[in-house]
Amino acid sequence: MHSTIVRGQNVFGFFTTICFVVAALIAASDLLAPRTPKATVAVKDLQVYEYFHLPNPVRGRPHYYSTKKEEYAIIRFSLSADLSSLFSWNTKQVFVYVSASWPNSTLGDAGKGEMVNEAVIWDTIITNPSADHLQNLGPAAMKKLVRSAKGKTIDPSRGKLEFKNQKAKYQITSPDGKLAETDNMVLKLHYNVQPWVGVLTWTPQIEFGRWKKVKGGISKAFKLPAIKVKKVAEKKAT
């Protein structure tokens, strides 16, 4: 009954129980930290081009090829966000992304009025200083990042984002190849909080305890312009 093995088993069992209880408490502590993010997103510039993907693949989709002509949109936007309340001791990183969503005109009644299409046009990962070492960065950038929060394990100031005229990271396309003059498109700011342990959370749809919805964070509806003819083509025409 009291052999070394049984004792070892008991100690190990007790150890894992304690680990799980502590982890559960840490995860639950997220609910106590108020989240009051706010943001403003606005469109700065819109361009729609068309081309064959073959000679000139879309940025962000280097392995996607199409044999038919497709239109793609480049969006420039401004973003001013304060997500500093999302950083607590259990925050590993916050994944911030801006998406463009638009209703589908070709889908018929099923998609009328609903934002049935959504594409991420820009994203960024903000690590809490405790997770800086996990970032995929070059040595110089890593040094700079680590130095920026020296001595701190939580750095809410990283949650403040300010972009005046940011170019989209990913150009958007559409499976049917048509995008020009798409109406009622909006840009939205979203976030995804990745904890050290516990439940992953996204931009809430409803207020939940101390977690408020994002104040703002949606741009005014806009319409994509007509296809912009490349300058080379214009010269040939004249």
Partner: protein, 172 residues
């Protein structure tokens, strides 16, 4: 040493106990599977393509029901690709259309390009039915044992040997 032979009643009890532990674990797994509607409700991260969010060996809990709303852009989903055995954990970055026929595109946070290259030949998008769940909860590192076991098969032999030794030594 050979107490099992001397006392068949105790041996039977031990065997039953062992069976109980196995079936409890199996039922818990299947129960979770039913609750989350996912064939594999808990997965272990095998690659670094979602770093810094997930490292190798981290444990992810999946949820595969759309009770309130559809699976949407920004969610981290686990999906299967035709002809490939290993499910992939990546973030949904584009969604065109609604429901079962929606075309979905995924990308790993740590990858520069999206997953078009990982899909089957000629496949540009995945569909809802390819997804076996969205990540809802996270425990770091706990699943690393399974990676160790699959990468170093001799560890399995060592573990089995140790367990056997414990069973034989534990007489009472």
């Amino acid at each position: 040493m050979l107490s099992a032979l001397q006392n068949p009643r105790q041996a039977a009890a031990q065997l039953l106990n062992f069976g109980l532990i196995l079936s409890t674990a199996f039922m818990m797994w299947k129960g979770l599977s039913v609750i989350s509607d996912s064939p594999s409700p808990i997965v272990v991260v095998l690659s670094g393509s979602m770093e810094p969010a997930f490292q190798r060996g981290d444990l992810l809990f999946l949820w595969n029901r759309n009770l309130m709303e559809e699976t949407k852009v920004g969610e981290i989903v686990v999906y299967n690709v035709k002809g490939k055995d290993i499910p992939i954990v990546h973030r949904l970055v584009r969604k065109f259309g609604l429901g079962e026929e929606a075309k979905l595109l995924t990308k790993g946070d740590n990858n520069l390009a999206d997953d078009t290259e990982l899909y089957a030949r000629g496949q540009d998008y995945i569909e809802r039915k390819d997804i076996i769940g969205s990540v809802i909860a996270y425990i770091p590192f706990v699943g690393y044992v399974t990676i160790l076991l699959s990468e170093h098969p001799w560890l399995k032999t060592v573990m089995l040997g140790l367990m056997g030794l414990v069973v034989v030594m534990q007489r009472e």
